[in-house]
Amino acid sequence: MDTLINVAHGFGVALLPINLLYCFIGVFIGTLVGVLPGIGPISAMSLLLPVTLSGTPESGIIMMAGIYYGSMYGGSTTSILVNIPGEAASVVTCIDGHQMAKQGRAGPALGISAFGSFIAGTFALIALMLVAPSLASVAIAFGPAEYFSLMALGLVVLTFLTQGSMAKALLMACIGIVLGLIGLDSITAQPRLTFGRIELIDGIGLVPVVMGLFGVAEVLLNTEQVIKRDIINARITQLLPSKADWKASAGPIGRGTVLGFFLGILPGGGAVISSFASYALEKRLSKTPERFGHGAIEGVAGPESANNAAAGGAFIPLMTLGIPPNVVMALLLGAFVIHGLQPGPLLITQNPGLFWGIVASMYIGNVMLLVLNLPMIGMWVQLLKLPYNILFPLIILFTILGVYCSSNNVFDVYVMIAFGIIGYFMRKLGYEPAPLVLAFVLGPMLENNLRKSLILSQGDLTTFVTRPISAVCLALAVLLLVGPLLPSLRKKRELVALDEGA
């Protein structure tokens, strides 16, 4: 009963006109920065932090949360339309989302990702209200050994994203890890693989790698096609998902939501892992896995729901323990502190109005996002009607600016162009970029946690199998790796791999 009273109280706070206004500004800016690759939620939120300080803590934090939420929505738009993922979590959306756009189904793809996000976001918030305090233990149950095993499982799952050979996918994943380790070692501060270039001390940025491998490489691949004016099919049949689309997507949205919510609780990497774990799961469960990679709507619905549910789950460690699971959450934490609040276990009991107000406002923000985004789908689809010979130079200009803005560094533009060229040849030779990018994100965490767990266990490798959570993750990973060798499963992979080696 307490919860109900609290929720009612929360809506009371969130529905104040001033808070509604802040919430709207937040989600609106969030959608914008999500659509513009390069200007991510982090830079927008740090720049706007001072603006939020003028009002009450509630309004400020409601607006910041809105930006975060909104950007998760916007991130999928460029993935689907032009194959440029705005952030790591939407890399997976590119795989099937952009294929759908090419088939003239950009509308349903954008639509299902908006609805999926809405459903997942709503569920995550309800779960947040009901079980937040009791799930706090999940966030800390993961120590270095558990993280290592989870990352290892993540990397194995990666290989299920690809249509080609396992060896190629694994090789790409390894290259991704190595690229991720460039820069100063996070434990000893020694420079690694920097070749004396000062620009590499800080490592390679995710934005230039992703924009090069996806955005630029895609343009290069498209332009080599013999005059097909509309590489992206302008014959747009419908703007919203059809009944059949809904039927196919219901399961993926449900599973993606649950998966995303639980993985989102884990500090570090939760949203990214959840998006591709959901993709892999759907591909595994599907009766027609060969459709994945060629515009399967399940491959958009699942990951998009997962990464939005993860955004909700991420509030749990922040609100209950004061441990921010990612930089965006940390910015929110900064906002709390500047407003004189103490995030931590006592926040909910000491400031119930604030906590429940924020949760309620996120719910309202979700509704606003849906209302804001649905009419925009038509507008986005119109954009695709531009002939490709005009569209592609604009895409290139857009990626150059996006990369430059993300770091204010010309070097990153070089990196992007280099990865664009590498990406083109990789794709031509049947090596896919998705495993590389995801390993690039997970690699540093994998390394750091492996080293820490070996220090903790004093070099005893059995620590990975004697700790239950870690053991489960590793067992799953082995099962997935050995699985394709077993005859019954082999058939499935071969079906998927048919288009290779032609």
Binding site: K168, L170, V178, T188, R192, E224, I396, L429, L454
Partner: protein, 161 residues
């Protein structure tokens, strides 16, 4: 695989070369791992993970090479069959030239020619459309970034922009 009836060693087998590049990279990573010191299993050093990832890379690369030798694979020629392979090369050349000129000549002076080239070289857009797009798109974005978002794009030696 469709062509396993006539498997024979061919130098233009693209799979083979992909594998060889992978193997070379793997060796390079192993070498760097050793150089950065492996440390002990009790306290792994900076090169520990690099070393083992390098070994894995080499293993996967070898398996790709073996597969290419036993099963054959598509040739470079077939990969680029029926494509206008000069077009991507042209774009790559434009982008490379752009990256060299960006620091020297600045964003507006580099991106306008880049846009003109991209619009004209691939599937030529008529001039009456090319010029406005090539001039307005970069300048518009440059103005928004510089004046309103306070992001300074490279201005080059002529200080334009």
């Amino acid at each position: 695989m469709s062509n396993d009836s006539n498997v024979k060693f061919r130098l233009d087998n693209s799979e083979l070369w992909g594998g060889l590049i992978g193997l070379a990279l793997g060796g390079f990573v192993i070498w760097h791992g050793i150089k950065l010191k492996l440390g002990t299993i009790h306290e792994p050093g900076s090169g520990f993970v690099l070393f083992y990832v390098g070994i894995l890379m080499s293993l996967f690369a070898v398996s790709i090479i073996i597969a290419s030798l036993t099963e054959g694979g598509p040739t470079f020629g077939s990969r680029w069959e029926n494509t206008r392979w000069t077009k991507p090369l042209l774009i790559i050349a434009c982008l490379t030239a752009f990256s060299f000129s960006l620091d020297t000549f600045g964003f507006p002076l580099s991106s306008i020619p880049l846009m003109v080239l991209l619009l004209r070289l691939i599937d030529p857009v008529r001039w009456s459309l090319t010029i406005p797009i090539a001039v307005l798109a970069p300048l518009g974005m440059w103005w928004v970034l510089k004046r309103l978002l306070l992001i300074q794009l490279p201005s080059g030696i002529f200080e334009i922009g």
